[in-house]
Amino acid sequence: MITKLTHLCIYVLDQESAYDFYVNKLGFSVHTDAPMGAGARWLTVCPPEQPELEISLFLVTEGDIFDKETVKTMTALVKKGTFGAAVFTCHDLMATYEELEAKGVVFKKAPTREFYGFEALFVDDSGNWFSLSQLNA
């Protein structure tokens, strides 16, 4: 029986810039920031009210699974905004939208009423997009 989700990864193109976006703009906290030698880094962050969920800011880089060609393709796809990575929720979408916009977060969809509540879409510094939702009570 699967019990819960502990890690998920978001492909980013620059970990330092992603750190600034997720920590300083979105307000996530750093869970683990471990140097892995030769400039490599294992960096995970958590949403403020979900400290047990580690989101790995996973650098698109050559390794055992990603060859040079895959890195090139992945980089282009991430930049293009191909990947919708996750849905985040908040208590008050208008307030969160106002705050994140003031911090320079780019929204590709302003808060809109949907069947399940309200939703906006924002984009991270790499190009991944996310739903930000306020669900009906």
Partner: protein
């Protein structure tokens, strides 16, 4: 019209929150914030709480404690952290930290230092193997001292 008024209200409360986010290390007078937001103190506290689930004072305290956790993890001493996060004194910082986190700042710092030491000595204890392999980080590299 009602929608515009609501939006205007949101903007003012959000600006007040951002003011706290940016100035938590200073001596913040919450009366001034409510004045800036053009609200009576009571109205301001009520609206702030309805948006963020806590009073401006509790929110300020939360931000200061979160920041202090980060600074302690980075190795700063308790005295410096208390000054860098806007507390009146190391004593008031220690009391607030203990109440919020459940342990003294010095103990927290020590635990973080031990954790970081453990991660440095064996990063594979925190990186799931599937992700490590994706990057090409292998245990044999680690054992050879290449990580």
């Amino acid at each position: 019209m009602e929608q515009f008024e609501k939006l205007y209200l949101y903007k003012r409360i959000v600006q007040a929150k951002l003011f706290i986010d940016h100035h938590y290390a200073e001596k913040i007078d919450l009366d001034n914030i409510s004045d800036q937001a053009c609200f009576s103190k009571f109205h301001f506290i009520r609206l702030f709480k309805s948006l963020y689930g806590r009073t401006p004072h509790n929110y300020l305290l939360k931000i200061r404690i979160e920041r202090s956790r980060l600074l302690l993890s980075e190795g700063h001493c308790v005295f410096d952290v208390s000054l860098m996060t806007g507390f009146d004194s190391p004593t008031s910082f220690t009391a607030a930290f203990k109440k919020s986190v459940g342990e003294a700042p010095s103990r927290f710092k020590e635990r973080q230092r031990t954790r970081q030491r453990n991660i440095r000595s064996n990063p594979f204890c925190v990186v799931p193997n599937c992700f490590a392999e994706t990057h090409g980080w292998t245990k044999s590299q680690f054992l050879r001292g290449e990580i």
